[in-house]
Structures are given as structure tokens and as C-alpha cells.
Symmetry: C3
Subunit: 208 residues, 3 copies
């Protein structure tokens, strides 16, 4: 598999993961079908779009490959039947798993894209953080909750930040590019899932 098609496939996974997190979140809030699809779209495309606006990259990936948009609409229309058939509950926990995958994939991919376009390491890492967290922040703002990324006291953005530096480090070590991205993403997803599973907490700032 070429690097380009690897990255495309990889970004696809992130889009799917975040779209799923948005769909679950909106369904929990009893939104209607249109609201569910829109929250899914915002969660999936929000971070990457802001990154591309900040880096002045055009056209956006979802404009270039509009298949994403069709896929999202089909998912929004078909998933309810699937979820109902399987008696899957829309719990906050159910949302956490795709969210963790989206976090790792988008942070690694976003950092990589920014490095390739010639940004300095610090800015590239920040772009990775933005790619990874902005979709989720917008998703939470839209359902009128304080964004989890700021508030739930579990490591989230900090994982994207550390993982981004891992991408930078691996790229200095001249590892093949898809290895950089893949290793960092897997590490981030693993750390996030462990943190959620065992309830690891960051202390509130004033007690820090």
C-alpha cells in the first residue's frame, strides 16, 4: 500500500470514529435524524476543517472526496436499525471508544500533515491537537455541554499533545512515514482507553 493511500485509509478511520461519537452523543440527547447526522458531521469534519483553514490548505478533504458526505448520510439513515436490532445502548461509555480511536488517529495524522507542509515541530503538534480535539469540542458545545476535553479531568488533549511529539520524534529517527503515524496513533488510543477504563484523573488546576 502506498503512503498516500495508507494516509487516506487512516484518515477514513478517524472520520468514521468521530462521526460515530457524534451520532451516539446526539442520539443520547434525543435529537432527530437530521440533528444526528449534523452532529456526526461536525464531530467528524470540525477538527480537520479548522486545521486546514489555519494552514490555508484548500480544498478541504471532504470537498475533494465528497464520498465522505454520502457515507455519513447513509450511516445516519441506517445505523438506527442496526443499533435497535442489536439492542445497543447509547451510553456515555459507548461514546468513549470511537472517541478514543478518533483522538489517536486525528492527532497523529494532523501532526504528520502539518510537518509535511513545513510547519515547525511545536506548531505541527498543535495542529495535531486541534485536529483531534476541535471536532469533539464542537460536538459538546452543540449539545450544550461543557466540552469533555476541558472538563472531565481525564487525560485527553494532553495525550494528543504527547502523541504529537512522538510523531515528531519518530520522523527525526527517519522511520518510514506510515510507521510514525501508526505507532503514535496506536500508543495514543491505548493510553486513552486505559485512562478511561481505570478512571485516571488529572487534578483540578488549583490543587495542582
Amino acid at each position: 500500500m502506498s503512503l498516500d493511500s495508507f494516509l487516506l485509509f487512516f484518515e477514513a478511520l478517524g472520520v468514521i470514529a468521530f462521526a460515530l461519537s457524534g451520532i451516539i452523543e446526539a442520539a443520547r440527547k434525543q435529537f432527530d435524524l437530521v440533528g444526528v447526522v449534523m452532529i456526526g458531521a461536525i464531530a467528524a469534519f470540525g477538527g480537520g476543517t479548522l486545521r486546514d483553514v489555519l494552514l490555508d490548505r484548500r480544498p478541504f478533504f471532504w470537498v475533494e472526496q465528497e464520498a465522505w458526505v454520502w457515507a455519513l448520510i447513509v450511516a445516519g439513515l441506517s445505523l438506527p436499525f442496526f443499533f435497535r436490532a442489536r439492542h445497543i445502548e447509547f451510553t456515555e461509555k459507548a461514546m468513549m471508544v470511537p472517541d478514543a480511536f478518533g483522538l489517536g488517529i486525528f492527532a497523529a495524522g494532523g501532526t504528520h500533515i502539518a510537518l509535511v507542509t513545513g510547519q515547525s515541530p511545536m506548531i505541527a503538534v498543535l495542529m495535531g491537537v486541534i485536529t483531534a480535539v476541535v471536532g469533539g469540542i464542537l460536538r459538546d458545545v452543540m449539545v450544550n455541554e461543557v466540552p469533555r476535553a476541558f472538563h472531565d479531568h481525564q487525560p485527553y488533549a494532553v495525550i494528543a499533545f504527547a502523541g504529537g511529539w512522538l510523531v515528531v520524534l519518530l520522523s527525526y529517527l527517519q522511520t518510514p512515514e506510515y510507521v510514525d503515524v501508526l505507532v503514535a496513533a496506536i500508543a495514543m488510543v491505548a493510553v486513552r482507553l486505559v485512562a478511561v477504563r481505570f478512571g485516571l484523573k488529572l487534578s483540578p488546576w488549583r490543587l495542582f
Copy 2:
């Protein structure tokens, strides 16, 4: 009337409609004069500005024709006297009427603009939806409510979506451009007003 001046006049109607919806919403929340003008501006210019950022069109229409900005300030200053003199109440229903007009006008106009700049039909329709719903979403987020577009279970974004495809269809049929836009806009406003009047509902997603 030339096509360009028609489109300008048409966009003007949409700006006025959404500005009015924002002004009513902010007045209902007891905002001060400045807050009312700012929410009006966000509702009126938010959707078109995001569309232009996404399509990379500069300068924005409100930068090119700053008369809009002056008009909005004058409206914010003078409307209170008008409303008080007429004993018009700021009810949620009062907000729905200009909102419906803004929806139809911006969805049709936004789709048209994106088609003209060479976007594919699906992306053009999405740009129409974004133009039409983002102003209202920002308006509702700013007053700390869950955006009605996601949550009130009445068809809103889906009308913009279907109406956008009507613009696309009419443009394939080689109708004069202002007919495309006008017919689609009128259809959308009518459907929205009927939906609000008779309380048509979309079912929540999980019961879908």
C-alpha cells in the same frame, strides 16, 4: 433587473430576515442594545461568512458592502421604538417567521453561489445548508441554548437540503438563474412555515 442586482437584493432579504431573528432572540433574553446588535449580526452574517471561508471567497459580502453593517446598527437602534409603539411581543413564534424566510433565501442563494464557483452538486447543496443553518446555530449557541436546527424535531436543515437539490435540478433544466433561486426559496419558506404552523415533527433518531 439584472441577475447580479437580483441576487444582491435577494441576499439582502436573507440578511434582514436572519438579523431580525437574532434581534428578537436576544431581546427575549433581555440582552442590552449592544448584545442585540451583535447577535443580529452573528445570525445574519455567520452562515455566509463560513461559506465564504470554506470556498475561499474574499472579500466577504459584508466587507465589500459595508452599508449592511451601518443598516444593522441603525436597525438595532430604531427597532425598539417601533416594537414598543406597536406592542409587538418577542415570542418564540415571532422569531420563527423571519427565520423561515432567512432559511429559504440563504439555502437557495448559497447553493447557487457554490454551483457558480464550480463545486459539485453535493458540495453546493451542503454549502447552501451551511449558509442557511450556521447563522441560526451560532445565534442559539450564543444565547446558551441547544441549537433549534438540531433539537426542535421540526424539519429545518432537511428543508435546506431538499431545497438545495431543487436548485441543482432547476439549473440542469436550464431555467434562468434567478428563477432557480426564487422558486426554490419560495418552496422552502412555504414548507418551513407550514411545518411550524402545523407542528410537523421529525421523530427522534432512536425511534426512527
Copy 3:
């Protein structure tokens, strides 16, 4: 001191002031360290970034001088110790002081930047208002509150608006550029602090 280095130093003060306002706000809400740093960053960089997106200026100042990002992280890590050692309380009032400085500095600086890039006076003044208020609006939206700029009935955006016109006026009078900016900023900070101190209120719109 040259004009450029004056403006850089001046913008630095605004970034620090707004970052501090965001840090205090997030600490009041018991956010964790990462949330505090992120809210600080959003408050500090949000307004200037939107202004630059609207004016199509690239790269953003925080991309060009990434020292800002490092400084913010260090501040987020070290300030808790400082605040605890001094027994400084995170009250809403404590937040108001840096917020007032950020308001004056960013409104004057943003108006100046837009004038230099050739915008008309009205658009330049609006860009100053956007630079000054958007960071604070995003900060408040992120902690799930109605933005103070709209709602607290104290003059805020209107000070940025009037102060922007003062910059325009002074620039017509051919005063040296840093005098324009400095005089207008000092005037705005003073008016805002007086308004907060003595509880000056704008009346709600419907009683206007």
C-alpha cells in the same frame, strides 16, 4: 523603540491579559491543567485568529512566533504555585482586570492592523471589535455560559467600537502611529475599569 517592536510588545500585553482572564475563568470552573491552558489559549488567540482569517492574513502571529505557545504552557504550569503562594482568589472580579486590559489593547491593535491593510474605517473598527471580543466570547461559550459581552449589561463591545473610531480619528490627525494605538487603548481600559468599578449599566434592549 521602532513601531514594529512597539506593536509586537503591545500585542504581547494583550495576549497575556486575555490568557490570564481565560486561566482564571477555567480555574474558577475547576478545570484541570490542560483545560486551563486550552481556555487560556482560546481567550488569548481566538480574536486575533478570527481577524486574520477574515482579512486572509497568514501566517497567524502565534504560528510566526511560537514563543507565545511555549510561554502559555509555562504560565499554565507555574501560575498555580504563584496564586497559591499569594492566596489570590479566583473571583469574577479578579478576571475583570486583565480582561479590561485585553479589551483595550486588542481593539486598538486590531483596528490599527486592519487600517494598515487598507480596510475602510468601518470595517477596520469592526475588525478591532472582533479582535477584542471574540476571544472572550469563545472563552465564555467553552465554559457553557452566556458570553458576558452580550449579557452583563455593562459596556464592553461598545467601548471597543468607540475606541476603534478614536484610532481612526487619530490616524486622520497624522499622529505617530504608536500614539494612536496607545492613547486609544489607554482610554478604553480606563473607561472599562470605571464601568466595572461603578457598575455602569446599559439598559436591556426592550426598555431602551
